[in-house]
């Protein structure tokens, strides 16, 4: 295991200290908890957004705390959901009187821990609601299973619901908009290498020099299949094919694109993927409204990428273009 760390047990603690040291103008930490909240929290009168999950997906979610996105991010151990008491503290710290929306990635542990926190908060009279992001088309969706996982598409939920809250919309409205994003975003990923959870000390799986894993989760869960490494264009075609099998996007529709790196893949390769994404969308007559390329939802040092497509309407477009000023996602108003 080659990592720049001190002690596998303390990576989350030390990372959080490093984040707060670096960006005190954006975030402060709730003393005694693995929770980062906006430096100016609570914002009176604004619906607050809380997200989080296991660590190891940086900049998710602490990097999105700030104006126009999250009010708090709760950090669990690496790839492990945070416990409800942590989430509960986050909710209490950011509630500005207009209620709190939890943005949860769809994993059994995350869902249950966040929902328990919501109940605790409600018992204290805080208005809490939640949405569950499930954009990963690699997993089949069915009401009889745990359903699709939440991956990079979550960042679109943070951005757009965050903008809605920033506009002063009420909790019900912010939730409606978050769910609209969830219903319209799909993601599919692949990786070239595994990653190593510091406490485990060894890679989550093994891949031969000429192999790639397709459709895997962001915790190194096994994907849909293993394949010989293909060209960037072929990989991109496959990812988009899976996405378009799951969601109908028609000619003249407008979309936002996110080409997300899993942590160990250089930007150069992500842009090469984006070139092909654009080509394919252009062929289909789909209009790209905005493109995001970078490391948004990572799996430690895993090499690989995911592509997300978000179908837009006027409301989503306006909110996606709104100002955001967080550690890792900044955008000027247009």
């Amino acid at each position: 295991m080659k990592k720049i760390i001190n002690n596998p047990e303390s990576v989350v603690e030390e990372m959080l200290e490093g984040i707060v040291n670096a960006h005190p103008e954006y975030v402060k930490r709730l003393e005694g908890f693995n929770v980062l909240v906006r430096a100016d929290a609570p914002v009176k009168g604004k619906v607050a957004l809380v997200s989080g999950g296991g660590s190891g997906h940086e900049p998710s979610h602490g990097g999105y705390v700030g104006k126009g996105m999250l009010d708090a991010a709760v950090a669990g151990e690496v790839f492990t959901s945070p416990t409800p008491d942590q989430v509960f503290e986050a909710i209490k710290a950011v509630d500005g009187g207009s209620g709190v929306l939890l943005v949860i990635k769809n994993y059994t542990g995350d869902v249950m821990n966040f929902e328990m926190a919501a109940e605790m908060a409600e018992m204290e009279g805080i208005k809490v609601d939640s949405v569950i992001v499930n954009d990963d088309v690699a997993v089949e969706n069915s009401t009889y299973t745990t359903g699709r996982r939440g991956i990079a598409g979550t960042v679109f939920v943070h951005k757009i619901a965050g903008a809605a809250a920033d506009k002063g919309l009420e909790l019900k409205e912010v939730k409606r908009i978050a769910e609209k994003v969830i219903n319209n975003v799909r993601t599919m990923g692949m990786s070239l290498t595994p990653c190593t959870v510091p406490a485990a000390g060894k890679p989550s799986f093994e891949l031969a020099e000429d192999e790639m894993e397709v459709g895997l989760g962001i915790h190194g869960e096994p994907g849909t299949h293993r394949d010989k490494i293909k060209t960037a264009d072929e990989i991109t075609e496959h990812l988009l094919e899976k996405i378009f099998n799951d969601i109908e996007v028609n000619e003249k529709d407008e979309v936002a694109v996110m080409v997300n790196g899993l942590g160990g893949t250089p930007l150069m390769e992500l842009y090469i993927v984006n070139r092909k994404v654009k080509d394919i969308l252009q062929e289909k007559g789909i209009k790209v409204y905005k493109t995001f390329v970078g490391n948004f939802m990572t799996s430690l040092e895993m090499a690989g990428c995911s592509v997300s497509i978000l179908k837009l309407d006027d409301e989503l477009k306006e909110l996606l273009s709104a100002k955001a000023d967080t550690i890792a996602f900044k955008q000027f108003e247009e």
């Binding site: 492990t80 416990t83 409800p84 008491d85 542990g109 249950m112 821990n113 745990t146």
Partner: protein, 205 residues
């Protein structure tokens, strides 16, 4: 009460590796580690509440599990203990009816929290049969010890049954059919807890 919980904690600790190995097959190999972490903390906290009512004690167990176990089983077992606590708040003694009611509430809590059912290859596949046997036994006016004996035996059967089915809930569900043939770690820890209760009661007699 304190004695029972203490024994549960010891049992879980003794089976830490075993539970983790089971989770390695169809999950993320942390079930034993997480459960042990939780019950160790429970043991530490028990001291401070040992003279309190059963509701307070169980609530302490619940909140401790919730805030230390994490993953799926933390909120599930936490909810179970919390719901059971609500049946006996302020009570220093527990009667037979309380036991049935506590069990019932605990299972409803788990179902509510995890949205799973019997046959989904989860802890419920141990707990529901155990509850049914225990309830029947108590309705037939058998002793509490007899009731828990029947309960733990049914839980054991339930654990065996989980080997035959595919997971529909939790992390193992991503494996689908590939989860068949493996025993569910959560069902196993549920069985171990019931066994620990039965053993404690029998010994205390």
């Amino acid at each position: 009460m304190i004695k029972i919980i203490d024994n549960i904690a010891t049992t879980i600790h003794e089976n830490k590796e075993y539970l983790t190995e089971l989770d390695a097959k169809i999950g993320d190999s942390d079930h034993g580690i997480n459960m042990d972490k939780g019950f160790k903390m429970v043991q530490e906290k028990l001291h401070a509440v040992k003279d309190k009512d059963c509701g307070t004690i169980l609530k302490t167990v619940a909140m401790t599990l919730v805030s230390t176990v994490g993953g799926a089983s933390g909120p599930l077992y936490g909810t179970a203990f919390l719901k059971a606590a609500s049946v006996v708040s302020d009570k220093k003694e527990i009667n037979k009816d309380d036991i049935v009611k506590m069990f019932e509430e605990a299972i409803m809590g788990i179902k509510m929290r995890g949205k799973a059912n019997k046959g989904d290859k989860t802890m419920l596949d141990a707990l529901i049969p155990a509850y049914e046997e225990l309830k029947k036994s108590i309705e037939n006016n058998e002793t509490i010890i007899e009731a828990f004996d029947k309960g733990q035996k049914a839980a054991y059967e339930g654990v065996e049954y989980t080997k035959k089915i595919a997971a529909k809930k939790g992390r193992a569900s991503y494996l689908g059919e590939r989860s068949i043939g493996h025993q569910d770690p959560g069902a196993t820890s549920s069985y171990l807890m019931l066994k620990a209760i039965y053993d404690t009661l029998k010994e205390a007699k």
